[in-house]
Symmetry: C3
Subunit: 670 residues, 3 copies
C-alpha cells in the first residue's frame, strides 16, 4: 500500500466510473472534468461483464483499452474491477441454477446484481474465466494501480449447490456426524443426522430453526463468499503480485465476518452511505471508521464509496446539505481513511440508480455538487502529508460477528428485540462524545496495550474470547460488560454452571434467571452514593458472590438486588451492568470506569457539537476538529502550536470553527 | 349507442343478474319485482361459463334460452356477457398453465375468478370458442341489446406464455435488441441482452427492478388484456355489428391504460364502489365520472356496477345510509352517465360475496334497500330527456397511465411515497369544490379549446406530451404544473440538460437538485404580496431563468429561492409549484390561475355542501344540484327559469334542498 | 382413569422428561431431584423418534429400557409418548413429500417438529410402525401408567396427498358432486365441479376463497389429524386396553375441533402457557379450564404442560414472578385438573427452546424455581383428596369450532375483525368476575339442567344447534345472545327469510341490514328505565316483531330502534344484544339476565381480586380461594366450617389471604 500511496501522491480521490454507459465523446469531457476536480483514481469496470464478454467466450476489450489509455494519459490511475458482481443474462439464461434461491424456495429472477449463489461451481468457473482474461490483458497496463475484486460480496443462497458446499464446510469443521450432532444439540426435537446427505442448508422450517445450524449457516455463507473472493484474488496475484488487491465492504453488514476477510485484503475498503435523515448517522459512521482502521491493526483504510449527495435506494432520500459531504469526508480521513471516493463519477441517465447523486450530477458542472467536489479535491491535496498516518487507542470495544449472529439470527432468547448494532452504538456513543480514541476488537484480537475493554451484550462468545477477556482483567485491565454476556458457547449451547456461564467468576455474581421487562416498565435504581436513576427493558435476577453492588434496585420484586456490579478480579476491575440504565446514568458510569482506569480524553474541553480526532506518525500529529452543527460556531481549545493544513495558518490557544467548519492541524509530536 | 338509447327509452336501469344461482320459480318472482322497480336491462351470464359449458365442448343453453325469453316477454333488455372472466375448473384442471403465476413464482389455485394468464393461447382458444357459441345462438335474440365482453379485465401474470408474448410485444415496439438495450439502459449493472430468448417477464429480482423494463411490462400487461378483449369483441361483431360492444372498467385501475382501450369500446362503462366510510369518496367519484366522460371525448358513459348499499370485499363494509345511493346515482348522471346499474339484482345465498348488498337484498322486497331501488327507478324515468346529453369544460387535467406507472411502479426516485391518484385528486378537488367543469386529458389528447391545463406531478411524460403541453402554453393557454414533472422520457431515462429536462424552458427555471423533506419538516413560504403559508414534503433547489418567483422560502437552507414560479411563455402563462404548499394556499393559487385565465365557475354562489353540474344538448341544459350533507338544508341561487324534472315544479331564483336532496332542472339554452 | 388416579395416589405431578439429551450420570441426579420435588410421573419420549429408530427399521431401545427401569425403581410412573410429532431426518430425506406444503405452495424444510402432512400415507405408515414397536416392548412395563400419543396435533397441509384425502372426506360427507356443488354454492363465480379429480385443497386463489370450501377444509384438517391420532391409539390399545390413552391439546387452538376429539380420549389434557405479560391471562386460562372440564362432561382433566417460569417462543418472554406458578397451578386444580405437569423437567442446553424455563433450570437446584417446584410438590400431596372430584354449573356458554371457523376463516363478512376468542371472553369475563360456575357447551351438547345459555356471536350454526337453543328457550331457559348470530347454515349459506334466519323467531325481531360502525363511531343507547350508555362497532338495523326493546338508540340514523331486545319465547326468555355495548353496561345486563333466571353466585361477597371455585364429590366440597393480587391482602367471607388442606387449620367465618395467597378448604356437603 505504500507504493500505491506514493503513486497516488497522498490521498486517493475519485469514484466509480462507468464509461460503458456513455459515448466516447462523453469520455473526453469526463476526463477533463476529473482533472478539474483533482480526481487521481477511478474504479473501473465494476458492472461491465456484459460489455466485456457480451456472449460466452466472446470478448470486447477495445473500449476498455481505450479508456485505460485515456485515463493514463491524463494521469488518472485505475482501480480495475473484476465484473463478477453482475453476471450477464446469457449466464443465468444458460444456467438458471446460478440464481440464488431464498430460504422459502423462491428463486430470484434476472434484472439486478449479486444474483448468484456463491457456492455455484458454474458461477465460479465463469467468474474465474473473465478474471483471468482481464488479468492477462491489464496486469501490466500503466494505469493499473489496484485490483477491485467483484463488488460488495453479499448474496445468501439456499440452492442445492449451497447444500453441497455447506456439507463440505461442515465436514471440515466437525469431521464426523457425531460431533456435528453434539454441536447442534440435535437430540432436541429428534433432529439427529445419520448420513451426510441428510444435511442441507436451513430452508424455512415450520416455525423456528435450530440455533446452532442457523449459526453455522451464517458462518458458512460468509466463508462461501470469501472463497469467491480468494479465487479471483489469487488469479490476479498469479499474474503480478505488487498491485494491491481488495474488495469493498459495507457498513454494519451482518452477512460477512470481516474479521476473517481482512487478513486476505491488502487494505480494507468501505462503502458507506450515512443517512442524512438520521441525525446520528455521523456517530455510527465514526464507529465504522474506527472498525475499519482496526480490521487490519491500525493500517489506513480506503473510503471506497460514498454519495456526493442523496442516494436513491430508500423510501426517502434526503440530500446532503451544503458542506456536509465535505465534513463527512474529512471525518473519514480523521479516522485513518486514505481515500475519499464516491459512487459514482457521472450520474446514470437510466437504470435503477438514475437518481443516485454523483460527483457530476444530472445538472452538470454548473451545480452545487460539482462545485463542492472540486473544492474538496483541492483540499485533499493540501492534506497529502496526512496520508499513511494512523492512530491507536487505550480503549477497545468488542464487535464480533459470531456475537451478532448469536443475538439476532438465532431465535428462542428471553427477548428477541436486542439489536447488536444498537447496543454497540449505545456503548460507543459516550466514548465518541468525549472524543476518546477507541479501537474495535474481535473475540480473537490481542488485547495487549489496552486499559479498558468494553463488552456490549456478548451473548455468544467462544472459549478463546472468554479466555482473552478473563486474562485481560486478571492482568489489570478494566472490563465494562453488559447483561446477557457469556451465556452460550460457540455452538449456541447454554454454558453450564449457572448464568452467565462464561463470566460468573469474572463478574463475581450468579444470575438465577433473566427477567426481561414488560413494555413501559421502569425500575428505580439507587447508587451506593445515593444518586437515583431508572432502568428498563431487562433485569438479571442476580446473586452476588465476590462482587459488590455499585447500584441496587430501589423498588419492584428485585428491590435490594444489584443492578450494577463491581468486581475486583486479579489485578483488574470489572463493571457489570445487569439492567438497561437510562442513557445519562449509563454514560456516566461507563466514563467513570474509563477514568478510573487512568484513561484521559485528549480533548476534554471541546464543545459538544465538535468532533475531535487525531492521526499521526512518529513526527507529527494531525488534529482534526469537525463542527457538526449547521448553525453554531465553535471555539475549540488547542494545546500547543500547529498549522491548519486547510488554510495554511498558524494555530495556537484555540481554533474557531464556523458552522460545518473544519480544521486539520499539524502539530509536532511532543 | 343512439339506437341503444332509443331502445331503452332513456336511461338504462338494472344490474347484474345471475339466474343460474336460482331455481326457475325464483326467476318469475325476479321478473315481477324488476318490473316493479323499473328495471329495463340486466347484465346476464357474467360468470356463467360453467353453467353454459359444464364440460369441454358440451353446452347447456336451455336455461339461458328460457331466461332470455322470459326477460324479453317482460320488456327487459339483456346486456349479454361472455363468461370468460371465470374459467371453469375443468379448464384449469386440464391446463394448469393457464393459472396466472405471480412475480415471485407462486401459481394461483382455483376458486376465484380472473384466474388466467391473459397471454395464454389455451385460455384464448377456449374463450374464443365459448364466445363464438354464444354469438351464434343469441346475436339475433330479440332481448339482446348490448354485448358485455368478459368482466373487469385485470390479471397480471408472469407465466412462460407471458414471456413469449412479452417478447413479441417488445419486438413490435423496438424492432431489434440494440434498440431495446438502449431503451432499457441495460449497460447499467450489466443487463444487456444479446438474444431475444433471454428476455423474460420481470420476475422478482434480488432487490429492485430495471425501471424501463418494469414500465414496459406494465404497458404490455395492459395490451395483453386488450388483445383478449379485442378477440372476443371481433367475434361477436362478426355475427352482427349493430349491437354495442364493451367491457366494464374499474375506478383508479392502475393495470390497464383506459386511454388505449376506450377507442375500442362502443361506450365506456364503469364499475365503482365509493367507500361510504370515506367522507371524500364522492369527490374521487366525480373525478372518475369526468374521466369516463372524457375517455371518449364527451360521449355519455355507462355506470355499469355500483352497490345498492354495503359491499363485502373490505375489512369494514359500511352501508350506504338512507338516501345516499340515490344521491350518488344522480351524481353519476349529472356527469354524463347514461345508465344506473348495480351489482347485483338478487343477493347470493352463498359464495364469496354473500354479504354484498343487492337491489333485492336477503331481507327481501320489504326492505329499505328495495324501496329505495323502486323509488330511484321511478325517478330515472322522469329524467329520460337527459339521456344522451353531455358537457364540455374549459379546464383540463392530465391523467395518464404512463405517468402513473412511472411514479408508482418504478423504484429509485428521490422519494417513493408519491401517490399518483392522491396528487391528481389534490389538484382536482379545488376545481370540484368550486363547481368548475373539468375534462380529463391524456398526454396524447388534443388540448384545443381549453383555457387551463393542470399537470399534477408528471414525472414521466413522452415527447408527444411535452410537445402538446408546450404548444398549448405557446398558443396562449395557462399551464398549472407541480414539481417533479418532465423528469424522464418515456423509457424512464432522465432527460438531459438539467432538471426538469422536458420543461426547463416552459417553467423558466432549472432545478439543480430535488430536495425531499424530512418527516415533519415544515417550511415557511412568503408570497410576493407578503402573504405567508407553509409547505412540506418536497422542495426543488430551483434557479430561475426566465421565470419569476410568485413565492419564495422564508427560512431554511433554500431561503430566498422560488417556491412558486410564474413564467410567461409564448402567448401563455405557466404557474409552477416547486414544493407541496399547504392545501388552502395551493387551492387559492390554483383558482387564481384559473381565474386569471378567464374561466368562471357557473355556480359561484352555491353552498359548500352542494355539488352542481350541468349536462345538455343544443336546446336544453340540465342543471343538477346535489346536497351531500345528511344534516344541512341548502338554498342554491339559480339563474333563469326552469323545471325540476324530479318534481315537475317550476324553478326560479333559488332552489331549496333538504339534506341529501337533489334537483334536476331543465332550462332552455340561452 | 380411576385406576390411574389410584396408582398415582391423587394428583399427577411431574413433566416432560427428555433423558436422551443427557448422559446416564445425569439421569441419576434427575431421579434423585424428582423424588425431592415429589414428582410421581414423567412424560417420556415425546421427541425421541431419532433416538429410538436412528435409521429406518433399526431400533435402539436400550436407553429407554434403562430409564424406564430407573424411574420405576424410584416410584415414578411413565406417561410414554409415541414420538411421531417429530419425524427424523431420514424419513423426510427419503420422502420429501411428507413435508407439509403451505397454501401458497411453499414446502417446509427440516429442522423443527410437526413437519408432516397428516394425510401422508408414508408418514402414517412409519408412525404406525414405531408405535407398534413401542407398544410391543413397553405395554406391560411396570412403569407404564399412560400413553401419550404424539404431541400437540396441529399441522395444516396443502400437499397432493391432502387433496386425495380431502376428496375422500368430501365423498363421505356429500356422497356426490351435485350435493357438494350445492353445499359450496359453486354456481357463484362459475366454480361448479364435474369430476372429483377437479377438487383440491384450497391453494391460495387470486383473491378470496369460496367460504364453504374453506370451512370444509378446516373441518377436514381437524379430521385428518384425528385420523392420525386414532391410528396410533388403536395400535397401543390392541396390545393392552387398561391403560389410559390420550394426546395433549392446546389453548384456543383453532385448527382442531376438540369437541370431536374428546370422545376418543380417555381424558383430555391441556398444554397452556398463559402469558405473564398479559394481565388477564388468568381469566382466559379459567375459561380454558372450564372448557376442558366440559369437553368430557365434567370428567377431571389433565394439565399436561405449563411453564415453571418464562417460555422462549415469543418476542418477549416474561418470567412468572415468585408465587404465580403455584397460584396458577392451584387455579387449574380448582377447575378440575387432576394433574400439574410441566414442559419440561430439566432445561435443555441447546436447541430451539434452550431458554424455556424448566422445573430444574440452568441455575440448578439452588434456584428460585426449583424451590417453588419442591414446595408445590409438597402441597399437591396435601390436596390428594381433591383428585377425582369435579363440579357442574347452571350457566352454559357456547364455544364451537364451526362457529369460530365461520367467523374468522371465511372472508366476505360485513366486517372481518371479529375475534371469536375475544367475543367469547367478553361474555365469559363478567361471569368469572362474579365467581359464577360456568360450563362450556358445543352446538351439539345437551343443554339439560342449565338455566342460562350464553351465545356469543354465533354467526355460523347448524340446524342441530339452532334446534337445541330454540328448544332450550321454549322449555324455560334464558338465552343471552349477541348480534350476528344464526346468519348462515353449516355450509356458510345465508339462511333465507331475512336476518337472522335461524333466530328471527327466537329473538322476536328481523334485521333488515347489518350496519358495522365506522372507526371511532359511538352511539348513545338508552335503557327503558332511563339509564344511558354507549355502544360502538356494530348495529343491527332491527325491526321488532314479538320482541320488546330493553334499550334503544338515542341518536344517529337508527335513533329509536332497539339496541337490546327481550323476547318471551315459549316458557323461556331471550335477551339479544344488537350492538356492542360498552363493557360495564353489557356486564350488568348479562348478570341481570342470569339473576332473573334464578342463578346465584356462590361467592357474592368475595373481593374482586380473589377467584373462588369449588369442586367436590358426594360427601365434600373443596373451596378454592385464590388471591391474584401481588400487593393486596384479602379477607374472604366463608359460609360454614371447614379445614384448609394446605395448612391443616380449621376455617370459619372468613379466610385471610396474603398477596398471591391461596386456601383450599374442605367442607362437608350440606
Amino acid at each position: 500500500m505504500d507504493a500505491f500511496r506514493n503513486r497516488i501522491g497522498g490521498f486517493a480521490y475519485g469514484g466509480d466510473y462507468n464509461p460503458e454507459q456513455w459515448e466516447p465523446a462523453v469520455w473526453r469531457e469526463d476526463v477533463r472534468l476529473m482533472r478539474e476536480a483533482g480526481v487521481n483514481i477511478v474504479s473501473l469496470g465494476v458492472f461491465a461483464w456484459a460489455s466485456l464478454e457480451p456472449e460466452p467466450g466472446k470478448y470486447e476489450f477495445g473500449w476498455l483499452d481505450e479508456i485505460m489509455d485515456l485515463l493514463h494519459e491524463n494521469g488518472i490511475s485505475v482501480n480495475l474491477a473484476t465484473p463478477t458482481a453482475a453476471p450477464p443474462v446469457w449466464l443465468t439464461h444458460l444456467h438458471p441454477e446460478v440464481f440464488p434461491v431464498m430460504a422459502d424456495g423462491e428463486r430470484f429472477g434476472f434484472g439486478n446484481r449479486l444474483h448468484y449463489d456463491p457456492s455455484s461451481p458454474i458461477y465460479r468457473e465463469y467468474a474465474a474465466n473473465i478474471t483471468t482474461k482481464l488479468a492477462e490483458r491489464y496486469s501490466f497496463h500503466p494505469a493499473l494501480a489496484m485490483w477491485h475484486i467483484s463488488n460488495e460480496y453479499g448474496p445468501t443462497a439456499y440452492n442445492e449447490a449451497a447444500s453441497v458446499n455447506f456439507r463440505r464446510w461442515l465436514q471440515r469443521r466437525y469431521g464426523d456426524l457425531e460431533t456435528l450432532n453434539e454441536a447442534w444439540y440435535t437430540r432436541f426435537w429428534s433432529q439427529s443426522y445419520t448420513d451426510w446427505d441428510q444435511v442441507e442448508v436451513p430452508h424455512i422450517p415450520r416455525t423456528w430453526m435450530n440455533p446452532a445450524r442457523r449459526l453455522d449457516f451464517k458462518r458458512f455463507t460468509s466463508d462461501a463468499l470469501l472463497e469467491c473472493y480468494l479465487a479471483e484474488r489469487d488469479i490476479v496475484r498469479s499474474f503480478r503480485d505488487d498491485i494491491p488487491v481488495l474488495t469493498n465492504f459495507m457498513r454494519f453488514f451482518k452477512h460477512a465476518d470481516y474479521w476473517k476477510w481482512a487478513p486476505e485484503e491488502d487494505a480494507v475498503a468501505l462503502d458507506i452511505y450515512p443517512n442524512p435523515a438520521d441525525a446520528d448517522s455521523h456517530v455510527s459512521a465514526a464507529f465504522q471508521y474506527d472498525l475499519f482502521r482496526s480490521l487490519k491493526g491500525g493500517q489506513p483504510w480506503l473510503l471506497m464509496e460514498q454519495a456526493a449527495s442523496a442516494v436513491s435506494q430508500w423510501q426517502l432520500n434526503i440530500v446532503k446539505e451544503p458542506g456536509r459531504m465535505r465534513l463527512g469526508s474529512l471525518q473519514a480521513v480523521s479516522r485513518a481513511a486514505d481515500s475519499v471516493m464516491f459512487f459514482q463519477w457521472r450520474a446514470s441517465r437510466g437504470g435503477q440508480e438514475r437518481f443516485h447523486s454523483a460527483m457530476l450530477p444530472h445538472s452538470g458542472p454548473d451545480s452545487r455538487t460539482f462545485r463542492e467536489i472540486v473544492d474538496l479535491g483541492r483540499e485533499m491535496k493540501l492534506l497529502a502529508p496526512v496520508a499513511g498516518t494512523t492512530s491507536r487507542a487505550e480503549i477497545a470495544i468488542l464487535f464480533d460477528w459470531d456475537g451478532w449472529w448469536g443475538l439476532e439470527e438465532t431465535a428462542g432468547l428471553p427477548r428477541q428485540d436486542l439489536s447488536y448494532p444498537d447496543t454497540v452504538m449505545r456503548h460507543y456513543t459516550p466514548l465518541w462524545s468525549n472524543n476518546h480514541p477507541v479501537d474495535v476488537v474481535s473475540a480473537s484480537s490481542s488485547l495487549d496495550g489496552y486499559k479498558v475493554l468494553v463488552v456490549p451484550n456478548a451473548y455468544l462468545i467462544g472459549d478463546e474470547g472468554v479466555r482473552r477477556i478473563t486474562e485481560f482483567a486478571e492482568n489489570g485491565g478494566t472490563v465494562v460488560m453488559s447483561f446477557f454476556s457469556g451465556v452460550v458457547d460457540e455452538c449456541n449451547r447454554v454454558r453450564p454452571g449457572g448464568y452467565p456461564g462464561a463470566f460468573r467468576q469474572l463478574i463475581g455474581a450468579k444470575v438465577d434467571e433473566y427477567w426481561p421487562a414488560r413494555p413501559h416498565e421502569v425500575f428505580s435504581v439507587e447508587f451506593a452514593d445515593g444518586r437515583r436513576t431508572t432502568s428498563t427493558w431487562w433485569r438479571d435476577d442476580l446473586h452476588l458472590e465476590t462482587g459488590t453492588a455499585l447500584a441496587t434496585y430501589a423498588d419492584g420484586l428485585l428491590a435490594g438486588r444489584a443492578a450494577v456490579v463491581e468486581n475486583r478480579f486479579g489485578a483488574g476491575r470489572v463493571v457489570y451492568f445487569a439492567t438497561l440504565l437510562e442513557q445519562a446514568a449509563f454514560d456516566a458510569e461507563l466514563l467513570a470506569a474509563v477514568s478510573a482506569a487512568g484513561v484521559r480524553s485528549p480533548f476534554p474541553q471541546a464543545p459538544a457539537h465538535v468532533e475531535c480526532a487525531v492521526r499521526g506518525d512518529e513526527e507529527h500529529e494531525y488534529v482534526f476538529l469537525l463542527n457538526h452543527s449547521g448553525e453554531l460556531d465553535a471555539s475549540v481549545p488547542f494545546e500547543g502550536e500547529g498549522t491548519d493544513l486547510l488554510t495554511g495558518q498558524a494555530v495556537s490557544g484555540a481554533v474557531e470553527l464556523a458552522p460545518l467548519g473544519a480544521a486539520v492541524i499539524r502539530r509536532a509530536r511532543s
